[in-house]
Amino acid sequence: MTALTSPLGRLRWTLTDGLTLVGRELGRLRHDPGELVAALIFPAVMVLLFGYVFGSAIQVPDGGDYREYLMPGLFAMVTFSALMGVMTRMAADASRGVMDRFRSMPMARLAVPFGQTGADLLTGLLMLAIMVGAGLLVGWQPHRGLIPTAQAFLLMVVLRYALSWVGVYVGLAVKNDQVADAMVPLFLPFTMLSNAFVPTDGMPGWLRFLADWNPVSALTAASRELFGNPGAPSGSVAWPLAHPVATVLLWSAALLLIFVPLSLRAYTRRGR
C-alpha cells in the first residue's frame, strides 16, 4: 500500500479515491434512476410548455422555428442544474455524517470534492444526451456540421464543471440538506433571467443588463450560433452576446479560479 506521505502517492490516491466516489454516484443512479428522471422533469415540462404553449405566441427575432430557438436555452438550463445537484449532494453528506466518516478515514482528502464534481460531469452528459433526444423529437437539430456541434457541447461541459464547483462551495457552506433543498428553487430565476426563452431586447434596461451578462445567456447564444439555430445574436448587442464563446470560457475560468480554492479550503478546514 502506498502511503499518503509522498506527493505522488497523494496524487495517486486522490485519483483512486475520486474514482471510487464517482463509482458511488453511478451506484446511486443504478439503484435510484428516479433522481435523474426527477432532475429532467423540469426541462421536459419546459419543452412542452414553451415549445407548444407559450412558443405558439412568441415571435423568433429573425423568423424561424421557436422550438429550434428554445432547445439551446434548455441545454443551458440543464447545464446550470449542476450547481444545485452538487450543492444538495454535498450538503446531504455534510449533514448526515457521511462527510465526517470520510474525514475520519485514511483516504485522500481532496478526493471528495473532485469525486463529486467528476461524478456530476458523467450524470450531466447523460442528462444532456436525454435532452438532445427530446430536442430531436420536437424537431430541433444542429445545422452546421460535426465540429461546431461538438464545440457547442464542449462549452456546455466546461461551464457545467465550473458551476459544479460553485455547488461544492455552497453545499459545504450550507451543511444542511433541508436548507439546501429549499434553496434549489431560488436558482430558477438565474436560468429564466436570460435569453433562454425570449430575447433580451424587450427587457427593461437594468434587467437586460443582468440577462446579457448571465452565463446562461452566453451559453445559449454560443449554442445557437454553433448549432446554426435561429436567434443567434447579430447587430448591436451587448459584448457578452456578441462574443458568446469567449464569454462562456471567461465565466468558466473565473468560477473555477474562485471556487476551487474556496471549496478545497472549506473542505479541508478542521473547525467544529
Binding site: L4, H31, D100, R101, M107
Partner: protein, 314 residues
Amino acid sequence: MPDPIVVAEGLHKSFGDTHALRGLDLSVPRGTVCGVLGPNGAGKTTAVRILATLSDPDAGHARIAGYDVVREADQVRARIGLAGQYAAVDEKLTGRGNLRMFGRLCHLPRREAHRRADELLERFGLMEAADRQVSGYSGGMRRRLDLIASLILRPEVLFLDEPTTGLDPRSRGEIWDHVRELVADGTTVLLTTQYLDEADQLADDIAVVDHGQVIATGTPDELKATIGDRLDVVLDDPAALPAAMTVLNTLTGTDPTTTGADRLSVALPGGGFRLADIVRDLDHAGVAAADVSLRRPTLDEVFLRLTDRKETVR
C-alpha cells in the same frame, strides 16, 4: 496499569463565546472501554471530534497509539473507527455497496474490500439485507451498518458517539453485544452516552464530563462508592413520615428525601450500617415499615450528584 492508547491533555476548544472544552484530560488503557458521561453540551462530542481528527483543539494535545491527532492525523486515521449519532452511510446504496465503497476508500484492494464487506455482513447478521438499499433498513440495522463501516480496518480504537440513541431496547442490546465482542478481540472503545445503564453495562472506566472538564473518573463501582449506599424505606402509614424522617436523620446525620407520600430515601455515609439496627430504631420510634432495603446507588444518582448545576461556573 497498562500503557494508555488514548491520551488527551489539557484540551481547550471554543466556538465563538462558547467554551466547549476547558482543559479536558483523558487517558484510556489499551483494550478497555471508557465511558464518557455528561449532560448535553458538556463537551463529549467535541472531545470525540478532536480525538477522531475531525476538529483541531485550540490548546492542549492528544495522542492515539502514540500519534498526535493534529500533526500525524493520517497515522491516527489508519488506526481509528468512528460511529456516530447518525447512520453515516449512503441511503441510496445497498449495505454491501456501502461497505465495499468504504473498504476501497480505506485503500483495500478491490478483492479484499469485497471479502471484508461479506465477512462483516456475515458476522454482524446483516447478510440477508446485504443487497437491499439502506433506505429500507430499520433504525437498528442502519446503526449496525454504521458500526460495521467503522470496523473495516480493524481499528485499534473505536469511537462510539451515542451509538444507541433513539434505538429500541432490543436493538440496543444487539449493539452492546457487538461492542463486547469487539472488546474481547482487543479493541479499545471510547463511548459517549447519555444512557447511564449503557455505561454501567459496557464501561470498565467512566469519565464524567461537565463544563468541558473531567470532573470524576473511576470504575462504575468506585463512582457509586463515592456517594455511599442508599437506604430506601416504604411506610405502612404515610402519617408516620415525620417520625421516620427524624429517626433516619439521627441515624445518618443528613435529611432523607421523600420519594413518595409513603417512602423515603437516604444516603448512608461510610459503612457499618446494619439493616437489623435500622429496623429496630424505626420500631422503637413506633414507625411501622412495609419495606426497608439497603442498596448500591445507581449510576444515575452518582451522575446527578456530580453534575449538580447549582454552582454554574461561566
